[in-house]
Each structure stands twice: as structure tokens, then as C-alpha cells.
């Protein structure tokens, strides 16, 4: 038999993927080109990484070099998280895979006028109404905070959950009340997904507009666009079910994740994130940067990608 040809691996677009998968306890490796999680008993579980937006690795996982290479090739983001996904330690792809998009994002964030336009567009998308005129970013942030508190109250009431305030302590996970814990777990899912989308498209997670100064500022900005349509209702629904004693035996975090996954699928979230990011940045009103006149074409021209713009493939 003739030597079979080498067939390159190329990522598929984010919008066609499943959302998210949490893995714990096991060795992630590559066997015959398949991505597998091998547990202590030697049981192998094949994971269709090419069809996933991101893999959340919980404590107890080890990843081989080959597995990381494969994830990078198929464009699946690896995210290392703490137990129940409440803390994010590291993500497996550096941001800014597309210089032009990165520069555009940075230009919008640096120009105060453009930044205000972007923040106003985010406000418009979140609350479905025009933000008041002549307000600064800080004033808009204050208004947003008040509205968010009211929305929490409203959604909690609608799902029959007693709600005091959004309160969580990263050091003491089990100390929080149940709705807050469900909410934290649900947010973790949404953040992982938004970060995967931001990185897949080639933007930088740290360059935020409403949020500033954190490694994931832009992730919080983007996640806030969807939070109250997706994960907050899902979290409250699960919390209400558990408080009524109808939650079953599974831990709350797990039930929340399942609810979030269904909701992401139902709302078509993955199809929307990348176009929405492009739209809110375009609302800044600046022109995308043009190639510098002295810029040289790459010495090795890139193959035509099949995934999103920032996938390394």
C-alpha cells in the first residue's frame, strides 16, 4: 500500500461547535490521532475537541504535549480552572492572533470618544434602549450597576428564589448561599465561552471597555452582553429547583452547567458572539487600521483557513 498522504488538520468555525466541556481526573493524550482522556483504570474517553469551543480542565487533569498541539490545531481553547470552574488560572492560546483586529480593538479602547461609543453600544444591546446623552463611561457604569442589581432581583423573583445580593468569596466557595453559588458556576461557563470566542477571532481578552485592568476585562464586557439572557435565568432556575427539593442528587454546579449548555445551544450563542464583537467595535466609529505602506507580505503565504480569523490551524 502506498504511503497515505498527509492530510492537514484545520479548525472549523466556532459557530458550528458545541459549547463547553468540563474534564476532571485523568490524563489527556493523543492516541491514533484521537484526543482521549484516560482515567486511572485505563478507561479511554474520546473527546471530539474539534467540535468544541473550549475545554475546561479542572483539578486532577494532566495534559500531554501532543494533546495541547492537537487542541491548538483544531482551534479548541484549553482553559485551566479551579474546582467547579470558579477560578480561571490559565488559557491555552495567547490573545491577538490577528494584528489588524488587535490594533483596531486597542485603538477603540484608547480613543475616549470611540470607547464611549462602544460602551454606549453595549448599553443599547443589553438594555434594549438608548443610553442617556452626555454621560461619561463612569456614569454609564454606575447606571449599569443599578440596573444589574434590579435585574437580579427581578429574575430571582420570577424564578422564586430569595435573593439578597450578588455576594461571593473566592476563598470560601461553600460559604456563599445557593443562588450565588449557582450564579458563579454559570458565569464561569459563560466566561470560558466568551474567552474562547474572543481568542478564536483574534482579539485580546485584556483590552476591555467598561471593565478595565484585569486580564479578562474584555471577556467580562462581552459576557455581560449575554449574561441576563442566558446564565442568570439558568442559574436561578436550578437554584429554585434545588431549594424546592427537586434538584436530584447531582451537585448544583453540575446541574447549572447542564442548564447553561442547553441554553447556549437554544439561544444560538456561539453563532452570535464573534459577529457581535465585530459590531460593538464597529460602533466606536473609527476606521479599521490599514496596512502600513512599508508592510511586507509574509514570506510563507498562509493557507486559506477554514475556521475563524484567529485560529492558528
Amino acid at each position: 500500500m502506498a504511503e497515505a498522504p498527509y492530510v492537514p488538520l484545520r479548525p472549523i468555525p466556532l459557530k458550528e461547535r458545541s459549547a463547553i466541556l468540563f474534564l476532571e481526573y485523568g490524563q489527556l493524550d493523543v492516541l491514533d490521532g484521537a484526543f482521549v482522556l484516560v482515567d486511572q483504570n485505563g478507561t479511554r474517553m474520546q473527546i471530539p475537541v474539534g467540535g468544541l469551543a473550549c475545554l475546561m480542565l479542572e483539578p486532577g487533569t494532566r495534559v500531554s504535549h501532543a494533546a495541547v498541539v492537537l487542541c491548538a490545531r483544531v482551534g479548541c481553547l484549553l482553559v485551566w480552572v479551579g474546582e467547579a470552574g470558579v477560578r480561571l488560572y490559565a488559557a491555552g492560546q495567547p490573545g491577538g492572533a490577528r494584528a489588524d483586529l488587535l490594533l483596531f480593538q486597542a485603538r477603540n479602547a484608547l480613543d475616549e470618544g470611540a470607547r464611549l461609543n462602544v460602551v454606549r453600544e453595549m448599553f443599547r444591546r443589553r438594555f434594549g434602549e438608548e443610553p442617556p446623552e452626555r454621560r461619561s463611561v463612569d456614569q454609564l457604569r454606575g447606571m449599569e450597576g443599578a440596573r444589574v442589581r434590579a435585574t437580579y432581583q427581578l429574575l430571582a423573583q420570577r424564578h422564586g428564589v430569595t435573593w439578597k445580593a450578588r455576594r461571593y468569596d473566592q476563598e470560601d466557595w461553600t460559604g456563599g448561599d445557593l443562588p450565588n453559588r449557582c450564579l458563579s458556576a454559570a458565569n464561569a461557563c459563560l466566561y470560558g465561552l466568551c474567552e474562547a470566542a474572543i481568542l478564536a477571532a483574534g482579539y485580546a481578552p485584556a483590552i476591555g471597555f467598561l471593565h478595565r485592568g484585569k486580564p479578562q476585562s474584555f471577556v467580562y464586557d462581552v459576557a455581560d452582553l449575554y449574561k441576563f439572557d442566558t446564565v442568570v435565568p439558568a442559574a436561578f432556575q436550578v437554584a429554585a429547583r434545588i431549594l424546592k427539593g427537586k434538584g436530584g442528587q447531582e451537585p448544583p454546579e453540575r446541574q447549572v452547567r447542564i442548564a447553561c449548555r442547553d441554553l447556549f445551544r437554544r439561544t444560538g450563542l456561539l453563532e452570535r458572539v464573534i459577529p457581535d464583537i465585530a459590531a460593538i467595535l464597529a460602533a466606536g466609529g473609527l476606521a479599521p487600521p490599514e496596512d502600513a505602506p512599508e508592510a511586507a507580505d509574509p514570506a510563507i503565504p498562509p493557507e486559506e483557513g477554514s475556521g475563524d480569523d484567529g485560529h492558528r490551524g
Binding site: R10, I12, L31, G33, A34, Q46, P48, G50, G51
Partner: protein
């Protein structure tokens, strides 16, 4: 919805397929993708199948509700009967072989 079944396929093709699809039984892969992605996966199957054979079916707005394609030698062959695709089954070359 799409299903791919491979027979006598090289392990690296089977591994490759499991990157996009769930292998629910040996050589049986299931997933949901757009036409563009489906055609790309099928193209890779064609490039990597070697001496094995493969068949893919997918949900399609045809009369039967699905369509399928095959690569490699197999006793089953698709035939088009007035627009409805059926499967023709050639007799075994080995007379002792089981009839299915």
C-alpha cells in the same frame, strides 16, 4: 445530523474522525455539522481511507429525508431509482461467505 461508518480504515483516520464526531460503536461516527464542514470531513475521509471503505449519511431535504455517499469497494452500492436512492447488494464473490 450526519453519520459516517468506516470499515477496514487506518487507525489515524479513525482518530481523526473522533476529533469532530462521537464514535458510538467501532467505526460508527455521529455528529451535527453544516454542509460545508460535512464535505470537508468527507474529503479527509477520501484522502485517508486507504484500502478501507466508508459511507456517510446525512439529513437532507430529499424524499427519504436523508442522503448518503460511499467511498471504497463494498458489496452495497447506491442506486438511484426515479430520484429515490436505494441500496443494491451484489452477491458475494466467495460462495462460502454469509449472505449479508
Amino acid at each position: 445530523m450526519m453519520v459516517i461508518v468506516v470499515e477496514n480504515a487506518p487507525p489515524r483516520l479513525r482518530g481523526r474522525l473522533s476529533l469532530w464526531l462521537a464514535e458510538v460503536r467501532a467505526g460508527v461516527y455521529v455528529g451535527v455539522y453544516s454542509r460545508r464542514v460535512r464535505e470537508r470531513i468527507w474529503e479527509e475521509v477520501g484522502q485517508m481511507i486507504g484500502e478501507g471503505n466508508a459511507v456517510m449519511t446525512w439529513a437532507a431535504p430529499t424524499d427519504s429525508g436523508f442522503a448518503f455517499a460511499a467511498i471504497g469497494a463494498n458489496r452495497r452500492e447506491p442506486v438511484d431509482i426515479d430520484g429515490l436512492t436505494l441500496v443494491k447488494f451484489r452477491p458475494p464473490t466467495d460462495p462460502d461467505a454469509p449472505p449479508f
